[in-house]
Amino acid sequence: MSIIDNTGKTATVPAPRDGDDYNGPLLEVRDLHVEFHTRDGVAKAVNGVNYSVNAGETLAVLGESGSGKSVTAQAIMGILDMPPGKIPQGEIFFRGEDMLKMSYEERRKIRGRKIAMIFQDALSSLNPVLTVGYQLGEMYRVHHGLSKKEAKAKAIELMDKVKIPAAAARVNDYPHQFSGGMRQRIMIAMALALEPDLIIADEPTTALDVTVQAQVMDLLAELQREYNMGLILITHDLGVVADVADKIAVMYAGRIVETAPVHELYKRPAHPYTRGLLDSIPRLDQKGQELYAIKGLPPNLLRVPTGCAFNPRCPKAEDICRTEIPALAPVAEQDGTELPGRGSACHFWKETIHG
């Protein structure tokens, strides 16, 4: 059984190349493991994650708290706290080069300039004692050596870009003078400043209200198209994902349990966890009966169940699920034709998707 990446192709090592003739995936994570050494033992937060993102593509990483979705992103950014964190195994290729083998300096150059990150809590990600214009302009002063005046002009330009009304008038305001939605726009502007190839957005709209959420997601999608960036959207919200993602990777207990193009996942989930999640969400457009509820609780990362981590909560679990970890295998139609881009880490994916 081969490990597949999100495009559904069997993985080949991308040849590292320089310059613009590189045409492999923008980012490829391979067999990534992350552990945290706590006083109660070793918590296995990420246990062999594989995914890839191309330029102009949006990958949504969906999971609950403790699924390892944010830890994976931190490992990619190189902002994981080590210790207690540790990466015992795995590779993270950015444009064909393994970032985990790079020197600190090389990584630092990629961070911010090539890969940028947007966090959930914009208020704590911005420095409260500096004006927004200064913080936006800092990127240009440090990386491009612009003068203060030029940097401020650039900052206003960026604020216009993320549709902050009256940008020129507000450039000297401090972060707390902006509303939650506007602060998140400033975060996006900051991430965009150096025109990165890849943006990682970790729950970018979770803290925002529904009406503002829609504005911010739309903006993000629009800018992504304009700059042809790769976007990794980390979220727990199945609704937000449905709006903007091209493909989805569902994580559970530090593993990817299912990958699929966005439309397919909602229509025909191939993993009992995904199916359970979809069934447990009430509908907006009609009043339903009793909700389906996945029984039990997310696993304790210090004591991940043997075999498939989902087995204690799974309605389909059998003996094999308790002993053997299912690999992320390609998913096929009943007649055997492979479904492109789809994978499921379930021993009984056939029954799940077809039955």
Binding site: F36, T38, S65, S70, V71, D202, A207, H236, N300
Partner: protein, 318 residues
């Protein structure tokens, strides 16, 4: 919506924290009830700082309570024959003269042992008084707020502006006879506002917690809310500050005695000995040296204990 404000690492912590109910059968009894205090205790016992400091403090308390267990020599009566004799005789550790004698031929060792009591009494009594008074004041200010809080806060601000030792000197000046209790009073009088500030802050934080609101919603009275919900959750920072302050009070007593404003002969205390030791520093350094060492060790022990307790109680680690 999970972890609105948590970082990924904290989310991982969360995922570690709860017992996995997804596996109920194998280990229902394995996980016992662990209170936060119990957890802190487990943590403390593993902390080498705590072990070292608690052994030191245990001996200090033992010496203070039963000085006669450690020496039979008198700290106040000396034999002038031994005037200024002073070389540590390691072969005779614990004997009357192994740390030498002072100008009046009294055993330095015996004075060290008997002087412990004064320091320990001052430290513990001042700490107890400031914790009780400061704690009550802080609770009142923090919980009731309004005008009471405004007045109390300004009072603590005023005290905060008075240099601690200078204030103690002024208070002590107004007493003709300065016993241990006078020193305790002077230090406590100036020290309670520190605890008040800490307690007030902690109470204000805890007061807003949902579980306090929940208790109010149940119809709980003020007493129950204060003593069952707020106090147990606001106590941790007070304990830490009080423990560290205890060392400070001991050194304050020594400082005041050194300046001639605290205790004085015939009361035996390290501060008194340091004070006399300084005048004879050229001829007999050991009179200054040993009480200084004891004082430093004692203060260090309480500060280490405070740090260890802080680490164990820090909610961020849970």
């Amino acid at each position: 919506m999970p972890d609105v404000t948590k970082t990924a690492a904290e989310a991982v912590e969360d995922a570690i924290a709860p017992p996995s109910a997804a596996e109920p059968a194998p280990q229902p009894k394995a996980e016992k009830a662990r209170s936060l205090w119990g957890d802190a205790w487990v943590d403390l016992r593993r902390n080498p700082y705590f072990l070292v400091s608690s052994v030191l403090i245990f001996f200090l308390l033992l010496i203070a309570a039963f000085p006669s267990l450690f020496t039979s020599a008198s700290p106040t009566v000396g034999d002038l024959v031994n005037h200024y004799l002073g070389k540590p005789e390691l072969g005779k550790i614990g004997s009357e003269g192994w740390l030498g004698y002072d100008g009046q031929g009294r055993s330095v060792y015996a004075r060290l042992i008997h002087g412990t009591r004064a320091s320990v009494i001052v430290g513990i009594c001042v700490t107890l008084i400031v914790t009780i008074i400061g704690g009550i004041m802080g609770m009142i200010a923090g919980y009731f707020g309004g005008i009471i809080d405004a007045v109390l806060s300004r009072v603590t601000d005023i005290f905060f502006g008075i240099p601690f030792l200078l204030g103690a000197m002024v208070v002590l000046q107004s007493f003709t006879e300065r016993t241990i209790w006078v020193v305790v009073f002077a230090l406590a009088f100036l020290g309670w506002t520190q605890i008040t500030r800490v307690m007030r802050g902690a109470v204000i934080t805890v007061k807003q917690a949902d579980y306090v609101q929940a208790a109010k919603a149940l119809g709980a009275g003020t007493g129950r809310i204060l003593f069952r919900h707020i106090l147990p959750n606001a106590m941790a920072p007070v304990i830490v500050v009080a423990t560290i302050a205890l060392g400070g009070y001991i050194s304050a007593e020594a400082t005041l005695s050194y300046l001639g404003l605290g205790l004085s002969s015939p009361i035996v205390s390290w501060g008194v000995d340091i004070s006399t030791g300084v005048t004879q520093i050229r001829t007999a350094q050991h009179i200054l040296l040993y009480p200084s060492i004891m004082l430093s060790i004692t203060v260090l022990a309480f500060i280490m204990l405070g740090e260890a307790v802080r680490n164990a109680l820090d909610p961020k680690l849970r």
